[in-house]
Symmetry: C2
Subunit: 501 residues, 2 copies
């Protein structure tokens, strides 16, 4: 057993090394790479990804997994070995089902479409990408076909991001969520609008970054195992459990950008930094799903970072950092500004309340496209219609409509968006469970102490990495399966108070 | 032929991708990696290097080289195909001769010794590393043994860095050089010493970097295919011909550091940036040897960057950047300061004249250690004695003596130092040839124009990458084999004038 297990982890470490190297190449591409490096970088990434895929589908790896399975099962279902075997089997089988020719053909198609989209969005030219998008839909169906039989064609695509979840369950959750969000948004937008002008003065970039970093430090982000750099599109990435980096963007005339991007990415990073160190370089040293990952970024960004207790504690520090801009702005005005709800066009700028509606309409489009009920060519028109009914605003351009998100132009149609809405639901459910366990958390947040919350999350969520599935994690950490109730309770309480509903 | 040639270059590109990824991991390690990333980074680098080595020793690669050879030879000895076949055969045979077990054992030994040296140098504790250094000497001999027969045990080690060169030839060159340098240094140090105090005022770091970068730009460093970052030990690295980066260090109280480090690394980078783009991702897209590489860094740093014509042109700009510090310092004083010759202990701080003596003593020690004439344990004492006779100064500590350079503590003994002295010789020989072809070059340098020089170097040296061997390059570019004469002529003319000899 021991020799086989060592051989298995050595092979998985080599696979992890290739994936980590690819992640660093991508980080560099987004942060510091000069433009002349692009062509070779694409080829280098393709090579590393191909080699990582080869490692995962090497028959010897599957044989090693088989050989260690009986001993791993004897160690008990919750043991490191048993969990590793389960996840390895899943990843190996998944990788083996997709023919190398498809992987390569889709990579080529995806690069071409992405390149077109980069030019089509500013040119507001949906027609130029629609035929290629139709091909993406076909290829997404083809990909799903490798995992047949399935209840819904989107299920295998969703499974890539959010294991355990199926269309049936998501549709039920999202239909319920939408039914509650629409009247809440109606009620809020009938009330007097919040004034966010205090956020749109001029704030020196270095001071913004310094304040945001200080907040990430307070949350518990470990800078000896990470760093922050600037990118156009912020992200978190990891090269090992000892090197979990975040990026952010800064806008001189929008205080919310650097601040909330940093808190968001720090939330992702806290998750990865607290995974059990024993799992390093195995398949277990990662967040267990996109949805659970997003739950942590949104928990730290919104449930903590946009809460009244947090700002009761930190607003004086923020005012001290920007005395000319915020010295005369009362806490209540600032708090309303960072929580302003409004009907808007762009998902990434949307507030906590309307955000889910943006996501659900994308999720529904993915299903309709895959089911053949909606043609790619008709997406722009369908988008305008749905934005009108769900969001209450109609985009004047496709750039602000169906061209706004990169996802479908750089990957599969199907599975690309549900994690964002799941993150809100899961985050609220985890947070409510933490509050039940430690009712002192809001008072501690107000006092600038985050240890109790972070420790509860680390012990109940983070430490497990992929050793627990999202469903297992939700049950073990919150005692209940995923539901919309904690999130809707949270929204009603917070925004009821803010908008006097 | 075409299919085989394509298969060959595809395999070489994969090999190159792995090596380029490793280079990026090393760049990140030196620039931005947080301390927590160290352990995993070592493992990741070992994996990438092992996989690159596997690619090079794959029997199918050797078979492809054999298959394309007849057609490549029909294309002529100077053709891309013929040159690629020659270099590929050399690299493959070299890699195949070294058993994987040795590669791995030496990597482990080297990491252990390096780790000890990092602590031994500040502690001035040579005794703690001497036994491991003795083991390095043994392993260096063992490595040479894989390439037996050889005329001298150091020949295979030198061949790693400077193909074509053998101990016999180097000993003759260096003995001749030393015989000329010793009396020159004696004469200079009897003259009135130069005053370098103007370099040791306080210079804001950002302004230093801005000036140094502007000079690199003037030389022709292409920032769209490169960038500069700060590191403890400056270096040049390349991830593709479109991404050739340099690093530098800045010291507020030493104007020479950032400036000359930048010019030095820019020289290395100019070489790589001008290699024929057709060679991208083959084995040809690199400088042809360490010595030739060093010739370009030292040519741009010293023969251009420390020349009087250069500063006649640029000194007013430098004064304008630092008016308080240099406004009252005449050009002549500044020129003497940056060319001060003195007996000193540290190789990396040595001037152009004494530098060769530092290198030659290390080269001689390498031979004595490999020949068994000097025991590693006796190195510290031998170093003090040789420093006294050759440099005219005796290190008070081993930290300033035999512990000062990383090379022997992080690689083989043998072949580690000759390139530095070769660089001076080759650089002067290339520069003299360029001046013969274009006598206007000094006037152009004074006018701030470097195109004629750079273009000559690009056409005669850089463009060829590894398609020409160092010997071929020296002959084709300068019309003569390597000699010490151009370098000694240069030193005598320049320092004769400076010190009134």
């Amino acid at each position: 057993m021991n020799a086989d297990f060592d051989a298995l982890t050595a092979r998985l470490a080599e696979h992890d090394d290739l994936r980590s190297a690819a992640a660093l190449l991508r980080w560099d591409q987004a942060t510091y790479m000069p433009e002349g490096g692009s062509a070779a970088r694409g080829r280098q990434l393709a090579t590393l990804e191909k080699l990582a895929h080869d490692r995962l589908t090497d028959p010897e790896l599957a044989r090693l997994v088989d050989r260690v399975t009986p001993a791993a099962e004897r160690e008990g279902d919750g043991s490191f070995a048993a969990r590793l075997v389960r996840v390895a089997r899943r990843d190996i089988e998944r990788a083996a089902r997709v023919p190398a020719a498809f992987v390569s053909a889709f990579a080529t198609h995806r690069a071409e479409l992405y390149d077109r989209w980069v030019r089509a969005r500013p040119a507001n030219d949906f027609a130029s990408v629609a035929p290629l998008l139709a091909r993406t839909v076909e290829m997404s169906r083809e990909y799903a076909g490798f995992f047949a039989p399935y209840a819904h064609v989107a299920d295998p695509l969703i499974d890539l991001m959010d294991p355990d979840l199926k269309v049936t369950q998501l549709r039920a959750l999202f239909d319920g969520l939408r039914a509650e969000l629409v009247p809440l948004v109606d009620a809020i937008t009938r009330a007097a609008p919040a004034d966010a002008s205090c956020l749109h003065q001029t704030f020196p970039e270095a001071d913004q970054l310094a304040f945001a970093s200080a907040m990430a430090t307070r949350f518990g982000y470990d800078w000896s195992r990470g760093r922050q750099d600037r990118t156009a599109h912020p992200f978190m990435t990891k090269f090992s459990l000892g090197d979990v980096r975040i990026t952010t963007r800064v806008r001189p005339n929008d205080l919310a950008q650097a601040l909330f991007c940093t808190l968001h990415e720090a939330g992702h990073a806290l998750y990865e930094q607290h995974i059990d160190r024993r799992y390093e370089a195995t398949l277990l040293a990662e967040g267990t799903s996109s949805g659970v990952h997003e739950s942590q970024s949104r928990l730290w960004e919104n449930l903590v970072g946009r809460s009244l207790p947090f700002w009761k504690g930190q607003y004086p520090t923020l005012q001290a950092a920007f005395p000319a801009q915020l010295g005369g702005v009362p806490l209540d005005t600032f708090y309303r500004a960072i929580n302003r709800v409004q009907r808007s066009l762009i998902r990434t700028d949307a507030d906590e309340v309307t955000y889910g509606l943006h996501v659900i309409m994308r999720f529904d489009f993915e299903l309709e496209l895959l089911e053949g009920k909606l043609a790619a060519a008709d997406l722009a028109e369908a988008w305008r219609e749905r934005a009108r009914t769900d969001l209450g605003v109609v985009p004047g351009t496709d750039a602000d409509g169906c061209l706004q998100d990169v996802h479908w132009y750089d990957g599969f149609v199907g599975g690309a968006f549900q994690s964002y809405a799941l993150g809100n639901l899961m985050g609220a459910q985890f947070f409510a469970a933490a509050l039940r366990a430690h009712p002192s958390i809001p008072r501690e947040i107000e006092a600038g102490h985050f240890d109790t919350l972070r420790t509860w999350l680390a012990d109940n969520v983070y430490v497990h990495g992929r050793a627990r599935t999202p469903d297992e994690l939700m049950l073990s950490a919150t005692g209940a399966p995923l539901s919309t109730a904690p999130f809707m309770d949270y929204l009603r309480t917070k925004y009821g108070a803010l908008y006097g509903l």
